[in-house]
């Protein structure tokens, strides 16, 4: 559906260099820290910036040199950029009007868009000034949908909204995309937001795409330390392999005096990541099956209840972060300063491929 081939764009010291494929009807989330080039990439896609090299294909058509209006792209920028001097109706009708559609068709498009977004009640608003953040966002979406685009681009669509509306808006975006079968690109730097809307995504850094894939894949099998860290995996270590491990097809590895067991047969220097939620924490007295796992004595230095989980900071030979379900933490009954054991099973360890 969308294909970006060797897309390049330079501005000052920044250089975008990206290739990307998206399937029809896919909800794709583009992630990365500020300045990674997410907005630049979608602006190239929408035709608002002219790439210095590369090729852009949308719906099987080469649109590299096409005008922004001829690409079948609906664009909702950050902060929505509503036409402040026009009424809500005229904002939504803008696209169909510019395209010279007959009046009854324009009206039909507007009604259809406001029905989809459930904002019929806003139609009699003369100005967009007094609208709330959520309402502005819906008007901006309706305005983009009124031209019936093949691709919808949402640049940080919920960043300006407060926490409580964010979740419901994300759900609605997802519903809308399913209903219309729209290929959607959604820019976000928020993981929860990304997981609540998208199937697939990419992580960008410094103008390049570091990894593309299903979101679980980005989360569980990051291809680089950067992606691992971006996916909030805090336990990343550099270790030296010390020979076969206790279980079949495992390797012992040592990092700063702590011994881990990694899956597979490996040698030499190796980098690996352990997601905080995959780390087990037990009391030393517990009699549990620990065969084949690495067991590290640690001390609890800090615990923070985050609602859905409790974040534990553990100090031992290495510094570890673990996320426990609140109930599991209650069962553990540990206070700050408690001596505990961190249990790392080989299957919890993700070895980061070398050379990335």
């Amino acid at each position: 559906m969308i294909r970006l081939e060797g897309l390049r764009f330079e501005v000052g010291a920044f250089a975008l260099d990206a290739s990307l494929d998206m399937a029809k009807g896919e909800y794709f989330v583009l992630m990365g820290p500020p300045g990674a080039g997410k907005s630049v990439l979608v602006e190239c896609l929408a035709g608002l910036r002219v790439p210095s090299a590369g090729r852009i294909e949308i719906a099987g058509r080469d649109v590299t040199a096409a005008e922004p209006g001829d690409r079948g792209v609906g664009y909702v920028p950050q902060d929505y950029a509503l036409f402040t001097t026009r009424s809500v109706y005229d904002n939504i009708a803008f696209g169909p009007q510019v395209r010279g559609l007959p009046d009854e068709e324009i009206d039909r498009r507007v009604r259809e868009a406001v029905r989809l977004l459930d904002i019929e009640r806003l139609l009699d608003r003369r100005r967009v000034q007094g609208l709330s953040g959520g309402e502005r966002q819906r008007v901006a979406l309706a305005r983009a949908l009124a031209v019936r685009p093949d691709v919808l681009i949402l640049d940080e669509p919920v960043s300006a909204l407060d926490e409580s509306t964010r979740e419901s808006v994300c759900g609605e975006l997802r519903r809308l995309q399913r209903e219309l079968g729209l290929t959607t690109i959604h820019i976000s730097h928020n993981l929860e937001e990304a997981f609540s809307v998208a199937d697939r995504g990419a992580v960008m850094q410094g103008g390049r795409i570091r990894q593309v894939g299903r979101l679980e894949e980005l989360l569980r099998r990051p291809s680089s330390e950067f992606v691992a860290r971006f996916m909030r995996c805090e336990n990343i270590f550099l270790a030296a392999c010390r020979g076969p491990g206790p279980g079949p097809d495992t390797t012992r590895a040592e990092a700063s005096g702590a011994e881990f067991v990694l899956p597979g047969e490996r040698r030499g220097q190796i980098q690996f990541a352990i997601r905080p939620e995959n780390l087990a924490v037990e009391r030393p007295g517990d009699r549990r099956e620990r065969a084949g796992a690495a067991v590290l004595p640690v001390r609890l230095t800090r615990s923070v209840d985050r609602g859905a989980y409790v974040r534990l900071e553990l100090d031992g030979a290495v510094h570890l972060v673990a996320h426990l379900a609140p109930r599991a933490f209650a069962e553990l009954g540990a206070a700050d300063g408690a001596e505990l054991l961190a249990v790392v099973r080989p299957e919890a360890v993700h070895v980061i491929p070398q050379g990335t």
Binding site: E43, A46, G47, L48, E67, P68, G69, D70, R71, V73, G74, Y75, V76, P77, Q78, D79, A81, L82, F83, T84, T85, R86, F94, G95, V98, R99, R126, R127, Q129, G130, A140, R143, A144, V147
Partner: protein, 309 residues
């Protein structure tokens, strides 16, 4: 909401800056008015009626409306209006370009725009005169020389001569003299307006199917409405009160190029101070009334952005 004591002090200080300045200007006008009244109080009936006749142009309405003052006033207001419209036609795209585009040598361009404001107005008029005299000489060089045999005199190039005759000591010269600085002021205002406006509305308009020009016209420009208004008001106010370059480039010819500020100046040079002040008050009053009407008529119902008080 009730402001905190510190807030009240801050508000008081900032507001008093604005009010104090306006009060000084108002005071100047009031003092002028008192001066005129004092003159009328001590002058004889004949002097007073002479004053009124000079000021208004006659005793009855027909004489007033056909009189010198009304004609000069209309010329001032009319030329300023033409100037402002022309200035905006140039200033809107120029301000946009200076705000949005990367132009090679932009700093230089920007500095020359400012130079128009920095130059003493009189020098602006002299420069125009020098320019047109150079033009005239060029026209003579390009034209037909005098015939030595028949004694037929030479003729300057028709187009250059036409251009010269169109501006120098003529009404279009008034507009040209006002235009140079008025446009610079309008460009400044438009640039500030485009700097403050949301650039993304144009991006959205483009994706919705607008051409580059359409996005400018239908999305960017409406958002800078306040800038167009501010630039227009600045240019118009400046033009209405301008006389130095007008007087030197367009002349001070009665019934043709004598605008009200020039008349005021001439009345002072012949010692009619009261008359000059009275003419100025009339002009200031009408100009202020026009500006107030304009601001109310053209103001958008809701402010564009900014916190609501």
């Amino acid at each position: 909401m009730k402001p905190a004591p510190g807030g009240r002090l801050f508000r008081g200080l900032t507001s008093s800056a604005a009010v104090a300045f306006a009060a000084v200007i108002a005071l100047l006008l009031v003092v002028d008015l008192l001066y005129i009244l004092a003159f009328l109080a001590r002058s004889s009936a004949g002097e007073a009626s002479g004053f009124w006749r000079e000021l208004l142009g006659g005793g009855d309405w027909a004489a007033v409306l056909g009189g010198q003052t009304v004609r000069e006033l209309l010329l001032s207001l009319g030329s300023a209006t033409v100037t402002t419209l022309l200035a905006l036609v140039l200033a809107v795209p120029a301000g946009y370009a200076l705000s949005r585009h990367r132009i090679p040598g932009k700093v230089v361009v920007d500095t020359f725009v400012d130079a128009a404001i920095v130059l003493p107005p009189l020098i602006m008029g002299v420069s125009l005169l020098v320019l047109f005299s150079a033009l005239r000489r060029t026209g003579e060089a390009l034209g037909t020389p005098p015939d030595a045999l028949t004694g037929e005199p030479g003729r300057p190039n028709f187009l250059v001569q036409w251009l010269y005759d169109f501006f120098v000591y003529q009404r279009p010269g008034i507009v040209l003299a006002q235009f140079l600085v008025g446009t610079a002021l309008a460009i400044r205002a438009m640039r500030a307006a485009f700097d403050a406006a949301d650039r993304r509305v144009e991006d959205v308009a483009l994706t919705l199917g607008c051409s580059r020009f359409g996005a400018f016209w239908r999305a960017a420009l409406p958002q800078t409405w306040s800038g167009v208004l501010a630039g227009g008001v600045m240019c118009w106010s400046y033009s209405v009160g301008l006389f130095a370059p007008v007087q030197i480039f367009a002349g001070a010819i009665e019934g043709r190029t004598r605008v009200l500020p020039t008349r005021t100046f001439l009345e002072i040079t012949v010692g009619h101070l009261e008359l000059a002040l009275a003419l100025t008050l009339i002009m200031a009053g009408i100009a202020m009334a026009v500006l107030i009407c304009l601001k109310f008529a053209l103001r958008r119902p809701a402010g564009t952005g900014g916190p609501v008080s």
